[in-house]
Symmetry: C2
Subunit: 182 residues, 2 copies
Amino acid sequence: VDATVDLLTDVGYHRLTIESIAARAGVGKATVYRWWPTKARLVIESLSHRIEVTPVKTTGELRADVRALVDAAIELFTESPLGAAMPEMASDLDADPEAREQLLSFLGPARAGNLSLLYRAAGRTDLPHDVDADLLLDLICGTVLYRRLLGRRSSSAIADQLTEMIVGRHLPRTSEGVGPTA
Amino acid sequence: VDATVDLLTDVGYHRLTIESIAARAGVGKATVYRWWPTKARLVIESLSHRIEVTPVKTTGELRADVRALVDAAIELFTESPLGAAMPEMASDLDADPEAREQLLSFLGPARAGNLSLLYRAAGRTDLPHDVDADLLLDLICGTVLYRRLLGRRSSSAIADQLTEMIVGRHLPRTSEGVGPTA
């Protein structure tokens, strides 16, 4: 498990092999396969022992809370080995429903906490009472992840724009500090 | 090139090897490497010969145009081998700026056309004159892509909600037809 996270950080999900993990851990390949039939399951379980994915703490103020959600997404997809591995697992997860289930359980408590934060805002009538909080979280994480795929940084100006789009219901404007090519 | 797209469709980016492509094409590995030093560059060039990425055609009506952008993103990330390969290339693109540049050039004309559609809407004052069209496109593609990573379908109800968020500046609501677990 430790060997997996170390190697994942060094070579990335794509280049990670069960052979190299077994070698680093000083065990046989068969031993690894006995416990984790697929690379995706081994990686998700290893990350879940090493990383904690925690929900954003609410301040009780919508704008600050949404901004914290955006910042957490930026951190996940730029700093964390989990955020780096997630997109690369795409087809492995399609082929391995148990691994996807494991990933959803790992992310689950943080996601539930973040949903609760948005529904609490709805309870204060800061958001519509029937807000689709799930879709808002997907939108925040997805925008940050997609920009990373294209090699675009999500600066704090981007974080401001996403926050403003949700809190102020304003569309993002370039005059808020980012040009079209930012 | 044909061998690459065929194999990509069969096994996915992750499991695709230069060996298997060379074997399918009936050439030596060295020959492949001579022309394409990395797998990412070979895949992007092969896809660009096989697939056309076209901008959405404008209807002149904002709601229909934005809905068409969302539908195009859903099609890209659920139907196209390009959309399937993109997330999996994440770390290869980080390590290979030329491959990323090649991907951006491949996507470029479609993206430029879609930006033009949004700026035309801004010209009609249907969107703010200084709308950050780039960020809106990232938001549309990213939301769809992230949902796919989590194994969530982007139904037409989701497409409606994203469209309404941009056009009507309404936050997504669950009562628009999708529950929190959809």
